[in-house]
């Protein structure tokens, strides 16, 4: 009898997982108009200071007048963070703290950490609203759940800066984000297809289905591969960001196919994928990556063929820069679209850091800051 309870439990878990995955598959973020816009933005010249992409903007169509928010320093800047649960957010959070130190006008910087829990973040924001913040910065844990909280904050009359993930309202003062997932996926796919001369078997390695920022990456890649009749996508597999799983998947595919290229939506598995070819005893084909340092190191050390699109951590700096501008009464774009630089064989040496851990994300806008990375990673 006990066994059947356990069996029932397993069935329940399996069904639940399936339901979650299937439910997330219907994704409201996938619209072709957005994709075309992002691809166009990849080609545009950004507005702003040269060499400082975190201060640049693309297509600043609608500028917001913030003169009514202008205030005497010192300011109290409040930040509701979704979490520092992964190394991308750890790097971002650190560069943000650095940017704060660059503005003496910021008297106080109050941060709450929601530990990826939307309900905690909602109450964090409510707390912050009682603390006389001059401005509120929000990096939402989820788009849907945080929308009402952002609306409520804006209704109190303080300026609100949203960055990274968005919200389903335009009540914010400015929304900061890099170009986006379509551009990320397209850069790798276009390079790979060209590198292969439009011919060959491609294996796509993805983290998970149903995550909006990852879903857009694959959607873009797929539509680009479709443009090349000679490119055959032999498989699209999920690795749950586990390098061991990714390597096992590639080894299994090598039993059945000749693989001429690998497209990934997460650079954390690229090195393991490359190694599968080495262990199998064949040449490593072109592989797409990310500004994940583990991949940049492997790419540099082994001379692989790769390109690495980025989802820059420097946007965390931009959030502070925008807050400062707003409290000075300077105008900001309603939608602050940041450039999304690409790491190629030509500029790889600028970004790969053999002395830093794998989990570091290179597009942090922090490479020139004296001693910053050494302090962050304790090396």
């Amino acid at each position: 009898m006990r066994k059947f309870h356990i069996a029932a439990f397993f069935l329940f878990v399996a069904l639940l997982l399936t339901a979650v995955v299937v439910a997330q598959e219907e994704n409201p973020f996938l619209t072709m108009g957005d994709m075309e816009r992002q691809l166009a933005q990849l080609e545009m010249e950004p507005v702003g200071p040269e060499g400082k992409p975190w201060e640049q903007m693309l297509e600043p169509i609608e500028m917001v007048d913030t003169s009514m928010y202008a205030k005497e320093a010192p300011w109290r800047v409040c930040f509701s963070n979704a979490s520092v649960a992964n190394s991308w957010r750890v790097v971002g959070n650190a560069v943000m703290q650095y940017e704060v130190t660059q503005h003496p006008e910021i008297g106080e910087f109050i941060v709450t950490d929601a530990q990826e829990k939307p309900e905690k973040q909602i109450s964090d924001i409510e707390d912050l609203l009682t603390r006389n913040c001059d401005i509120l910065i929000v990096s939402p844990a989820t788009t849907e759940a945080l929308t009402p909280a952002v609306e409520k904050a804006a209704a109190t009359g303080i300026p609100v800066v949203v960055f990274d993930r968005g919200v389903n309202t335009t009540d914010y003062t400015t929304f900061i984000h890099p170009i986006g997932g379509f551009a990320f996926g397209a850069v790798g796919a276009r390079w790979l297809a060209e590198e292969l001369g439009g011919e060959g078997n491609v294996l796509a390695l993805r983290v998970l289905p149903g995550v909006d920022v990852l879903e857009t990456r694959w959607q873009a890649a797929k539509s680009i591969f479709d443009e090349y009749p000679g490119i055959n996508v032999v498989g699209m597999e999920f690795n749950e960001s586990d390098p061991a799983k990714a390597k096992a998947i590639v080894l299994d595919y090598l039993e059945r196919f000749e693989i001429n290229g690998i497209w990934t939506d997460f650079g954390g598995v690229s090195a393991a994928a490359a190694e599968a070819f080495v262990d199998f005893g064949v040449d490593v084909p072109p592989i797409t990556g990310e500004d994940f340092n583990g991949w940049l190191k492997a790419w540099q050390a082994n001379g692989y063929k790769s390109i690495s699109p980025t989802y820059p951590t420097f946007q965390w700096r931009t959030a502070i820069i925008a807050a400062v501008r707003i409290l000075k009464g300077e105008e900001v774009p309603k939608e602050w679209v940041l450039p999304q630089p690409v790491i190629t064989a030509e500029n790889l040496d600028q970004y790969a850091r053999p002395d830093l851990p794998d989990g570091h994300f290179a597009m942090c806008g922090c490479n020139e800051i004296e001693g910053f990375l050494e302090e962050l990673w304790g090396s």
């Binding site: 992964n86 390597k247 299994d252 039993e255 190694e275 851990p357 989990g359 962050l376």
Partner: protein, 326 residues
């Protein structure tokens, strides 16, 4: 299945049925999966490919054997996954890209494992906290500790002389070290189980703890030893996995608690203890790994995979349970 047999009770049918009922369910499941693989990917059966498959299966087999000791003694160990992550991260940090630190790394990795196993065992047996709660708590403690310790990304890096155990082959051959380590663990496991008093007592403790205590068995010590064994084998698993994938990340051990429990339940180890053996645990783990490859070969989407895996596990356990009753 059974009803069709019972309606055609020819002597041959009866004999076949009796014969079949002696074959463990897991062996049939494993054979079916292996045959399906042969149909989809015939090259899988080249000796090199097979050895490479066993190399990949080695970590889950080793971890499952450890989990089996705990489960035979009537407990669970949900902390193995986080412990693997901790061991891999500590190894990367201690080695720090310097091959000379290999021995020191092993001391740290196995030292931590022994301490974690001891704590698990002592909390369960001395403080009488159910192992489900104790090891779930340990899972969270280790997860938190490693996030703080690594600041979100493992530091340092492992060198080739550490990776060879999970990745390399014995010089001049196609035989992976991981395969040899796996055989060693199986051999030691079988020896402990069937040729020592410890092995008999594990069964006794899980089967009937009261009777075991009355006949003078130190239940606490047996269970604690089982937890330490599980933790040490998780550390061996960590060495194999980290070596295999090479990248230090905080997701290396993810899911190993669930996978190891699935493997041994598939292999006929009774939840609650007292029943099961190493052959079952090994076949269960092999089946999970073979299913992973089969689903790769078939290219099923992830949601279908999860359901298929879940259904196979439930099905195999249900059939075994049904047999157990009749």
């Amino acid at each position: 299945m059974e009803s069709t047999f019972s309606t055609t009770q020819t002597p041959i049918g009866q004999r076949l049925r009796r014969l079949l009922s002696k074959v463990p369910v897991i062996l049939i499941v494993l054979l079916v999966v292996l045959i399906l693989i042969a149909l989809v990917a015939p090259t899988f059966y080249r000796p090199v490919a097979l050895l490479n498959f066993l190399k990949r299966a080695a970590p889950i087999i080793v971890v499952a054997i450890g989990q089996m000791y705990v489960m035979l003694s009537g407990e669970f160990d949900l902390s193995v996954g986080s412990l693997i992550t901790v061991c891999a991260a500590v190894a990367a940090n201690v080695i720090n890209n310097n091959p000379d630190n290999l021995a020191l790394a092993f001391v740290w990795v196995f030292g931590i494992a022994i301490v974690v196993g001891l704590i698990n065992g002592l909390i369960v047996t001395r403080l009488n906290v159910p192992s489900f709660v104790t090891t779930l708590g340990m899972l969270l403690v280790l997860q938190g500790a490693i996030s703080i310790y690594t600041r979100g990304a493992p530091q340092g890096g492992i060198t080739d002389n550490f990776r060879v155990f999970g990745r390399g082959n014995i010089e001049g051959t196609e035989i992976p070290y991981a395969f040899v380590i796996m055989l060693l663990v199986i051999a030691i496991g079988v020896y402990l189980m069937h040729f020592t008093t410890f092995g008999r007592r594990v069964y006794a403790v899980g089967g009937n703890p009261v009777a075991a205590r009355l006949s003078g068995v130190n239940v606490g010590r047996i269970k604690t030893t089982a937890f330490v064994l599980s933790a040490v084998l998780a550390a061996v698993g960590a060495v194999l996995i980290a070596g295999f994938s090479g990248v230090s990340s905080l997701s290396v051990g993810q899911g190993y608690e669930f996978q190891s429990i699935s493997a041994i339940v598939l292999g006929g180890v009774a939840l609650g203890g007292g029943r099961g053996n190493i052959a079952g645990a090994v076949m269960g783990a092999l089946t999970l790994q073979a299913m992973f490859s089969l689903l790769n070969f078939l290219g099923f989407p992830l949601p279908i995979r999860l359901s298929v895996q879940g259904l196979i596990i439930i099905g195999a356990v249900a059939i075994a349970a049904r047999r157990g009753r009749t």
